[in-house]
Amino acid sequence: MIRRELLKAMALASAATAASTLVPGVAFAELPEETNTDVQWKKTPCRFCGVGCGLLVGVQKGRAVAVKGDPACSVNKGLACVKGYHSIQVLYGNDRLKKAYVRKDGVMVETPIKDALDLVASKMKETISQHGKDAVSIYGSGQWTIPDGYCASKLFKGCIGTNNVEANARLCMASAVTGFLTTFGKDEPMGCYEDIDHADVFVTWGNNMAEMHPVLFSRVLDRRAKKPGVEIIDLATRTTRTSHAANHSFLFKPQTDLAVANAICHELFEKGMVNEEFVKKYTAFKKGKTNIGYGLEDGFAFKDKMESIDLKEFKTFLADYTPEKVEVISGVPASDIRYMAKLFGDPRKKVVSFWCMGANQHTRGTWINNLIYNIHLLTGKISQPGNGPFSLTGQPSACGTVREVGTLTHKLPYGVVMKEAARRKAAEIWNVPYENIPSKPTYHTVEMFRALDRGDIKFMWIQVTNPMVTMPKLNRYRPGAQKDGRFVVVSDIYPTPTTDVADVILPSACWIEREGMYGNSERRTAHFEQMLQPPGEAMSDTWQLIEVAKRLGYSKQFPYTAKDHIEQIYEEYRLFHKGKTHNMAPYEVLQKESGVVWPYVDGKSTLWRYNSKYDPACDATKDFDFYGKPEGKAFILARPFEDAPEKPDQEYPFWLNTGRVIEHWHSGSMTRRIPTLHQAVPEAYVELNPVDAKAMGIKHGEGVKLVTRRGKIEMPASVGGRGTPPEGMVFVPFFDENHLINNLTLDAFCPISKQPDYKKCAVRVEKA
């Protein structure tokens, strides 16, 4: 290039660089190629948690080379957490699966993916022919993109005709779903993250938001820093980084959050802090069954029954929950309960409640969700900017795929399999006979793995999840999956303990190696384009399902083209949600925006549902309209405190609580391959209270043996680390496949949501 041309190129590059410094992501398509900066920045939602941060990925010569927060995304406003900033490294681990493998004489043999897909289809046909259609199943996750989950549901429910479709979101947010449905009749939060910018009080219910949802928590801290008087209340069973950042940290005994919530309601009535007009106009009092069990036995069944009660009966129910009585049950001082009630009841303060696994992974998970709603409904602090209960999620598309597409045994993309109208709608859109879709749910997740163990299920296809790390009571379910006569297919990007039990491993394309969409906690659907080529023969989970569907003879139902299949599938899926209550944004809008919140009506996102100022689905003659329930009235539900199924005793004197750390996401199969994150927390550990540690003579870093009725494990102790359990409790993060804590956990679940409780079982602690 002659000097003059070079200088012109430099002039262009300097202006383009200045532009991208001011506005990351700015694109100048018409620039001559030589002057475009080498790195192309493209938008995507983050691969990890359910917050749904917008990221910009820098791509250079076919490789992702940089990542930064997307300032155009209202979720994170340019921020990212430590996992988000390292997210692209997950694409480049040394042991990335690039080829398919098939087990032959006990050994995994590299196989062309075409042959492996042939085998998957033929095994499915053979199993259905010999054992019936309910002998085959698929188990996915909240990491499925929307098109992945949609194709899985269409293939299994619509074409094959079995409701054996589940996802690991059952393990993390099923109680949130049943909480929403029982109280409001519609799933997912009514508010959005913008609530943070308006609230005066934040209450975290068993939610270590500082580590699990760090970008949102930074927004909470920012709100407090900018507005005098803003308070954070951390209500938890263990002291965490969230507790340290909070204005007040209140510790309750495991399971007694139910009693604390009822005590807050009792105090609201006692002190005349109930919003009587709101309650009268927009709520109805109900009660359900009590003493509902824990699901510990195979085939456990439960069906709740709602009965109407009046205000007087509800107040009588609350009489057992005076702050003084609940102090005895929960350990939370009555004065602290009154303090929280005062914050909720103060009409000048706007209050947001946040919760996630602490409330959801709970044998009374549906109930504690209901009880948090009770507080917000009694005070009328709901569906308004800065006022609302907000259930957070842990996976990038637990909402978008599992809840909205409906990849659970009882669900369809719109409605439930039990409803004829929902089945007819699905059959019409899917182009299958109506009779194909069974009207009865089959197995929820725990029961599905029990069925695999028993042999009622013979074939299971597992995509984008790692149940051999994440299922509770793994000492039953791992051997169950390996029994003779079972055939397990696993689609993943790395070897895991789940691929260890596979008969076929299919290499998957990861995240931006394919096109897709995720849906986050605030009803935001975000699109990402294919930015990179997947390695080797890796293929998207969507396309794997399409290939198998075609081999099974369903080409008519899966006519999608390789180039446009994601757009075609999404536009087909959108048909299910037409209407003001759940309309999804068109594909071309998703391509342009950094996420769009549904209901998307007349070109606009609905940020606050059930409030007629913001939600076009409401009856405009009312201020609020909870249109999922009769007469637009949300249910205030009498739900009692009932204890955990397994409590510490003489033989097993400690509580075992499990969870996560900020550096690792989910089962660790991705973040443990990111060197910085792995080095930061290379292995799991047992958090002990310093008093307990001293009494047992255990020092930080020394070996500890944990024993429950289901198994035992040894790990190093953490004393005085980032989290501190109360005396009588230990905490273990579950990310480490070398220390499988879920060998020890209990598979008790909430009888309504069927979500297991990973936070409470009894354990013996010994110095190793």
Partner: protein, 76 residues
Amino acid sequence: MPICGYLITPSPGKKDAVQKSLSSFPEAEVYPAENQNMLIMVTETDSKEQDQELEHQLKSVENIDCLALTFGANPA
């Protein structure tokens, strides 16, 4: 033979109009951002005097909120 690079922020909704105005200068090459309210421009003039005259004229273009010189060179 001065060569300059500019980053321009048009007034909201005026990107197309500003692009048209700037493109009318024979010394200017204008590139609009695809996804933001921004333009970049490279100018090449025959002399320092002509460059100064162009700069003067640029300042009179309507609907520009910000005009930033990001690069300047005057090769012999």
